[in-house]
Amino acid sequence: MFLINCPYCGERDQSEFSAGGEAHIVRPKQPTELSDDQWAEFLFMRKNIKGIQLERWNHAHGCRKWFNMVRDTSNDKIHAVYKMGEKPPIK
């Protein structure tokens, strides 16, 4: 069983959550001034790290809140969870 500690509801099974991809990707302030390549870079390109990655998750079948997670993608170990807007506890 893969348990995730929702920062609002507490520890729940992974089946209640959905993954939202890499976290802390900043939307460009003036999208109209970007070239197609720069826009595609923002929109599609992700690091897909093998190791510790900062991710967004949603407690879809619980409180429906988004939050961030520090997860090791190689072994699924969750190092920390933190709320949206907070700084990652691990660099």
Partner: protein, 186 residues
């Protein structure tokens, strides 16, 4: 309520378990973030919405369930409260939605309430639910949103071995069949 069609309208009894649909019951969804919102809801309903996760508060007529840090659900404890439905909704709407303190949504027809009681209630839920009921079953008033047989549900632990389960109307028949099937095999 106008033209309310009960989707299940049934009661089933099994050894140590009784399952019934309790309808029509008023259900209102409340959303708001600031302290003024919580104070206002407290004033209108005479119940302060719980801020502790997975808890509920209530009086003889109403219960308020914590659904999230900025979301609650109010429901009536018995069918007779239906007569006051409009008054309750209007009052909350005027005091909260109209002054933009938060939002009030009537979810009476959106959710179906199923009451499950008996000694094997949690045994029944554990057959299709990823939630850990160890602490939940002993805390009266505990509430949670989770999955049962892959269907989203809200559970309110009303009393010892007596809980109310809320499910979306479109899933209610399917879940009702599943619960009955599961209960018959315990």
């Amino acid at each position: 309520m106008l033209n309310y069609n009960s989707p299940i309208n049934d009661t089933k009894k099994y050894p140590e378990i009784e399952i019934s649909e309790v309808e029509p019951i008023i259900k209102l969804n409340l959303r708001g973030k600031n302290r003024d919102f919580i104070t206002k809801v407290g004033k209108v309903l005479s119940i302060i919405p719980p801020t502790d996760p997975n808890t509920s508060s209530g009086n003889d007529n109403l219960s308020i369930l914590w659904l999230g840090p900025d979301e609650w659900m109010v429901y009536a404890n018995d069918k007779n409260a239906l007569n006051d439905r409009g008054i309750l909704e209007d009052k909350l709407f005027n005091e909260i939605s109209k002054v933009k303190l938060g939002s009030v949504t009537n979810v009476t027809d959106h959710l179906v309430m199923i009451n499950i009681r008996g000694n094997k209630v949690f045994e029944l839920l554990s057959t299709g639910c990823p939630f850990n009921f160890n602490d939940f079953m002993n805390s009266k008033g505990a509430t949670t949103q989770t999955l049962l047989n892959h269907v989203d549900i809200i559970i309110h632990n009303k009393n010892v071995n007596d809980l109310n389960l809320f499910v979306r109307r479109s899933f209610s028949n399917h879940l009702w069949s599943w619960i009955n099937d599961s209960a018959s095999r315990l």
